[in-house]
């Protein structure tokens, strides 16, 4: 029996290279950051152990809760904007329409650009005097083109730019998953008289459940750690309107040189990201690893 099991399931050795890399670049840094969160260190000399001082400073920090709120708004906003768009585009691009291949290629273009390049291009496009914002702003009800400099508009603008960048990736996931759905299901539905909308809700959507979960976990955990786009687009501004926790962490660490406090925020991000992904996976039943298909 054991020999059969050994054949079917590779031993721990198979996982060793990945585990080693994960330990070296995942676990060790986390341990070091936990240690640093108990120290006072500005990068000069050796860190001084201060125990829980940084953690109690968190309670007095008037900027942390707003930053956490902004992070949550960004995360929820990102999910609400990107998921329906990516889902519809993905399902559509899995079909056989005319020009589908050409249009799909165009949709996927943003995926090829680097985050920094996208952010910098949008900074120029959204320049209120010399960018597109100056001419297009009036059609969007913003005649002075003040998108990134307005406290109310900055966060939605960031969410829009992030969507422009990441929708193609999730579209790709949905396209691939849709192509895996057996065509017999649609043929049977057609025989029963179901229209396209009915087919979408009764077949496509349930069949994509696992993809929705996977894409959502990536989106949610990803947006908790969004950093470079926000840094380059608004640097947390105007004021603190788009200050997210990772940016706050960067500024505490590398602008204010308060490594101890920055480490506290880093540890919190690890905890939040982990909890978030566990919750999403549990809540959706994804952890049972069950198949959607009868008999498979």
């Amino acid at each position: 029996m054991s020999s059969v099991a050994a054949k079917e399931r590779p031993g721990f050795v198979w996982a060793a290279p990945a585990a080693l890399f994960f330990a070296l670049f995942g676990v060790v840094p986390i341990v070091v950051v936990i240690y640093l969160s108990g120290t006072k260190w500005n990068g000069l000399g050796t860190p001084q152990w201060v125990g829980s001082a940084n953690w109690s400073a968190l309670l007095d920090d008037g900027e942390f809760l707003p930053a956490l709120r902004t992070t949550i708004l960004l995360t929820v906003g990102t999910w609400l904007v990107q998921t329906p768009l990516a889902l519809l585009l993905g399902v559509w691009s899995a079909g056989q329409q005319r020009f589908r291949a050409v249009l799909s290629t165009v949709f996927f273009l943003p995926l090829l650009l680097s985050t920094a390049a996208i952010a910098l291009v949008f900074v120029c496009l959204l320049d209120p005097n010399f960018g597109l914002a100056a001419t297009w702003g009036k059609f969007l009800g913003v005649p002075d083109g003040n998108f990134l400099g307005d406290s109310g508009r900055a966060l939605p603008t960031v969410i829009f730019v992030l969507a422009w960048q990441f929708v193609p990736f999730h579209t790709l996931l949905y396209q691939a998953a849709t192509r895996q759905i057996p065509t017999q299901l649609y043929e049977a539905a057609q025989l029963d008289g179901a229209d396209t909308v009915r087919q979408f809700f009764s077949i496509t959507l349930p069949q994509l459940r696992n993809t929705i979960v996977a894409s959502s976990v990536m989106m949610l955990v990803g947006s908790v750690t969004y950093f470079e786009s926000v840094l380059l687009l608004t640097n947390g501004g105007p004021g603190t309107a788009t200050q997210v926790v990772p940016l706050e962490m960067y500024k505490d660490g590398f602008i204010a040189f308060d490594m101890g406090y920055a480490s506290v925020l880093a540890v919190l991000l690890v905890i939040i990201g982990t909890i978030l992904s566990i919750v999403v996976v549990r809540a959706t039943g994804y952890h049972r690893m069950t198949s959607d298909r009868e008999g498979l």
Partner: protein
Amino acid sequence: MRRRALLAAVTGIALALTAACGSSGPGDTKSGEVHVWSLQDAGLTPVVKASITRYNKDGDNKASLSTYINDAYKQKIQVAMGSPNAPDVFYNWGGGNLKQFVDANQVAPLDDALAKKPEVKDAFLPAVLKTANLDGKQYGLPMTGTQPVIFFYNKKVFTAAGAQPPKTYDDFLKLVDLFKSKKVTPIALPGSQGWTELMYAEYFLDRIGGPEKFDAIQKDPAAWKDPDVVKALQMCQDLAKKGAFGTNFASINYDNAGAGKLLATGKSAMFLMGTWEYPTQLTNNPDFAKKDLGWFQFPSIAGGKGQPGNLVGNPSNYFSVNGNSKNKDAAIDYLINTVSSDGYIDDLIKSGAVPATKNAESKLAGKPNAEFNGDVFKMVSTAPSFAQSWDQAIAPDIAKELLTNLQKLFLQQITPQAFVDDMAKRK
């Protein structure tokens, strides 16, 4: 110089690509060799490099140079100091930046060496030396050009409106109304970055209360609550509320040259910025810079205690000697013999900078941009005080808070009182 971060970064990358920047890693250090760390900057790097070449030719000691781009340097030097790979001579920003290193006992005072060679100290403008003087000891010598903050203006726009550069703040406010009525944004402000807004707070407080007020803040955060500080911040907020900067200033970015272009295209009439803006305009908008670019000092404020000639900005950047260096004597020797030497000053002028030395005036004459550079030198050499930008004078963690609060102040999100209450809490 920090304000030229993007410029430096871009040129830095370009230089790195050509691999001709003369940068050699710390691993190349030979024992007994003075290792110098500096910024990678299209103007500055050749000047420092030439000084090293000269030094190696003349003296018994040898020196070598490593250069880094701005932001990377800030992080690298913070971690390297105190390690075996630390440089012997290092570039810094003076003020709060240098104080961190001094507090960690990592900088050598230069006073003994300067006492032996008094002409070196004597060569520099005292107001500029002061920024690297902490607790009465000289911890650094100026090694870049001096960069005060002044008003730039568009002569064409002024002529069209029948306006003159203002002498007093009342004149200035009248100009703001005049330009608004002409549908020109009175002042370009790249307010997506807090340091551009800081310049107004610095000048208002200096003109109202004099430079002593900020000196007091540096010693004791409670001094933020001084009524003059509140008044200065109120004036910032009033100016923004009045529409002097237009409605969308918080979207405008300095690094992509947006604000400078506003001035050059006549969409804005004035622009308060460091003198590094002049070479930037020469590069980006050469026609405008040659014909229509004017400049004037920040106006005086009636009833204020500060003298109208006072300046704020970047007095200079500095070279300091690592206090734990094994080659400390050689490092001090390099520093003392380099930055005030004729060769170094001539190279600085050739790079377009205005050196912070007393003899600069005669050397600037007849060189390119002599009018602008001569005016800047005159302002700096006659200034009763030259205060360092606050965000560089104070500790980095407080500076971060300061810039965030300033953005909120200009956006009318917090009152001046809430601002000073918050700053007074931080120590």
